[in-house]
């Protein structure tokens, strides 16, 4: 397993925390929490990735970079990955952004109910 950390510029605040996905084979779960403004995390997306697959650091970098360039949702992002493809990672990121109320969609799912 490998733990990776990334930071991206991001300005859109999430309205609420969000949880989507499952750590199932070929899938991942994402937890998004609004950042702590006192902690200087304003205007940044801080991403932690834990993945069962090693050797894909650059793929993660590229995938995340692309997503946050288009969807700059700030906050603390935690990705628990079980070998998801970049396409699925992007889909789950989008779902999390929608569920957090930071990106618009008519089919937001996985809203936090806890």
């Amino acid at each position: 397993m490998r733990t990776l950390h990334y930071t991206f510029p991001a300005t859109t605040p999430p309205a609420r925390r969000a949880h989507v996905g499952v750590v199932g084979s070929g899938d991942l779960e994402i937890l998004l929490e609004p950042g702590d403004d006192q902690n200087g995390s304003t205007d940044r997306a801080q991403v932690t990735v834990r993945t069962s697959v090693e050797g894909f650091d650059e793929v993660w970098q590229t995938t995340l970079e692309r997503f946050f360039a288009r969807t700059p949702v700030r906050g603390a992002w935690e990705l628990n990955d079980s070998a998801a493809t970049p396409a699925l990672v992007t889909l789950r990121l989008q779902q999390a952004a929608e569920a957090s109320g930071a990106a618009s969609s008519s089919t937001a799912e996985g809203e936090d109910t806890s």
Partner: protein, 603 residues
């Protein structure tokens, strides 16, 4: 178009069934096919939501509590933030319930320390509320391959705690088990399934103690071909379990149908004491007697032989053969397990009498203060997969009957006798006939009777003198109030044999051994097992195979001390979270317990 068409073509019928239109014999409701919402396609949270009144769900110990397994990351396995179990409070037709939903996509639904504690502690909270006047029915969504092998011994213990908590709640509020598929309910959790008030299944569901792959690995492809899906469903399938009375409601894969079935089961309330499947030992014995392992029936035949309610079977006992008359099917492999004499040796030495056979593979020895029980090898066992001392169907039934008898014998006694389980068993029986006959249900009967004896006030002491593996240990030993183990290299406690565990977790035996050095629940060394929080004594002896007089005296003294502790201790298993070691090693379980208790009544 008409909404109902009578079926004339077998092929079309098959297609309709696959689409969830109907189940055997009924006409096909095409409207239903078109409007069906698949329950199987939902994740654990979606399933819980689908069963609860709309908008009533409240998730406890959710993902943001980050109560993940502490054991996976060190093994290079990505944890999940809620460890794969949803604990949801909500209402069903206005009644407050708790839904415990296993996420089958995470680690195959495997029971680990945290996921297991979430289930058992939620059941205990439901029982506490029920005792104080507000019954809280529980709905368990059971999709799991069994104990999570990365957390082996902690998972095995978690299953024992789940069974105990389930039995604590069951007299007070209904416990509804739902096995919808697609993983099914296997391993220790299948025993919990066998304890439920009511079991709902779909045709896609499976219930069994040992999965086909595990049996094939242990006994060969001739015993159980795990690539033969028709055979697997003929033996373990939801429809078969319903048609043989091992499940109560069979519905198609439709969220509304599942919801209706659960609503009815919740509304039906508790079952009267003595009438639960796992308490009907008369039925269990009579059913098992209809099977001659030398000439076993086809699974489909079992439906006529046993009937679809769990009641006395319409078929009488078969003539059973023993010994060399019964041979494993040609081509099957002989068990890798070797018969051990330690069980017989220690039960004889400790009781100071000649133990009498309840059946040839289950021994009972009585003294004034205690009753000793042991499962021993029986080379002539007609259930030939239990010849090396494994716990099989008849062993489970005999243990259940004996536990009930002892409990009844001591009714009215000022002080109930201790019951000492002398444990040396290589595992549960791995066989196709066993699964067909519902080994999980037989084991549930033994677990139920053992729990009942403990709750009645019998100090239950387990003494592990040799191997104590997996479902065998869950059935005989792991429900005890006090567990003592000999400090001897021949003593081994685990969820699965080393070779099989390595195979299933895709590791070599060497890798497994290396990992076990830093992950105590994985270890096969009994000294590591003793650190997990539920060991009440690691006993030194000179010779575990042929105990000296001094060995017997000192072990007897340790048992007497354990009896004293048990008499003043709780009659449930809560002390397993209170030991000095539990406070170090089972921190995660304790956090789950405390967080759930805090969140239980929050709004």
């Amino acid at each position: 178009m008409t909404s109902t068409t009578s079926h004339d073509s077998g092929e079309r019928n098959e297609v309709a069934r696959a689409l969830g239109a109907s189940i055997d014999g009924q006409s096909i409701d095409w409207q239903r096919v078109l409007h069906r919402h698949s329950f199987l396609e939902l994740d654990a949270l979606g399933r819980a939501e689908a069963l609860l009144d709309e908008g009533s769900i409240r998730v406890l110990c959710g993902p943001f509590e980050r109560l993940e397994s502490p054991w996976l990351e060190p093994q290079n396995v990505t944890p999940q933030s809620d460890d794969g179990v949803i604990v949801a409070r909500g209402t069903i037709d206005g009644t407050g319930v708790v839904v415990l939903s296993i996420e089958q996509a995470f680690q195959g639904g495997g029971t680990g320390e945290v996921s297991g504690a979430k289930i058992s502690q939620a059941l205990r909270l439901a029982a506490a509320d029920s005792r104080s006047g507000t019954p809280v029915p529980a709905v368990l969504l059971l999709e799991t391959g069994g104990v999570r092998l990365q957390e082996a011994n902690l998972g095995l213990n978690a299953v024992a705690e789940i069974c105990s908590a389930l039995l604590e709640l069951r007299p007070l509020a209904p416990v509804v088990g739902v096995v919808a598929g697609s993983v099914g309910s296997f391993g220790g959790i299948s025993i919990a399934t066998g304890l439920c008030t009511h079991v709902v299944v779909t045709p896609e569901a499976r219930i069994g103690l040992n999965g086909a792959a595990v049996i094939e690995q242990e006994a060969g492809v001739e015993e159980f071909d795990s690539s033969d899906h028709a055979l697997i469903w003929a033996v373990d399938g939801g429809e078969q379990r319903r048609r043989t009375g091992l499940a109560d409601t069979l519905v198609v894969d439709d969220a509304d149908a599942l919801r209706d079935a659960v609503r009815q089961a919740v509304a039906a309330g508790t079952t009267r004491p003595g009438a639960h499947r796992s308490e009907r030992l008369d039925v269990l014995d009579a059913r098992l007697a209809t099977i001659d392992p030398a000439n076993p029936p086809e699974p489909a035949r079992l439906r006529e032989m046993w009937g679809d309610t769990y009641d006395m079977p319409p078929t009488g006992p078969a003539t059973t053969h023993r010994g060399s008359d019964v041979q494993p099917q040609a081509g099957t492999t002989h068990s890798s397990m070797t018969p051990s004499r330690r069980g017989r040796t220690w039960i004889t030495a400790l009781s100071g009498t000649t133990p009498r056979p309840v059946i040839d593979s289950v021994l009972r020895a009585d003294t004034d203060e205690a009753v000793y029980l042991a499962v021993v090898p029986d080379p002539d066992n007609h259930f030939y997969r239990a010849r090396q001392g494994q716990v099989g169907v008849t062993e489970s039934a005999a243990l259940a009957r004996t536990m009930r008898e002892i409990t009844a014998e001591d009714d009215g006694r000022a002080e109930r006798r201790a019951i000492v389980a002398v444990v040396d068993l290589p595992s549960q029986a791995y066989g196709r006939i066993e699964e067909m006959a519902g080994l999980h249900q037989a084991m549930a009967s033994a677990v139920d009777a053992t729990e009942a004896a403990r709750v009645a006030g019998h100090p239950l002491i387990t003494l592990v003198v040799g191997q104590a593996l997996s479902g065998g240990f869950l059935t005989h030993g792991l429900q005890a109030s006090q567990i003592l183990v000999l400090d001897d290299p021949g003593v081994e406690i685990h969820a699965m044999h080393k070779e099989a565990a390595a195979h299933i977790t895709l590791r070599t035996v060497d890798e497994l051994d290396r990992l076990a050095k830093k992950i105590p629940p994985l270890s096969y060394d009994v000294r590591d097992w003793a650190t997990l929080g539920f060991c009440d004594g690691l006993l030194s002896v000179e010779d575990a195979d042929t105990p000296t007089e001094g060995d017997v005296r000192s072990v007897a003294r340790d048992i007497a001390d354990a009896v004293t502790r048990a008499r003043s201790g709780p009659t449930d298993l809560s002390n397993r979270l209170e030991s000095v070691q539990a406070k170090k090693v089972r921190k995660a379980s304790r956090t789950v317990r405390d967080t759930l208790a805090r969140q239980w009544n929050e709004q």
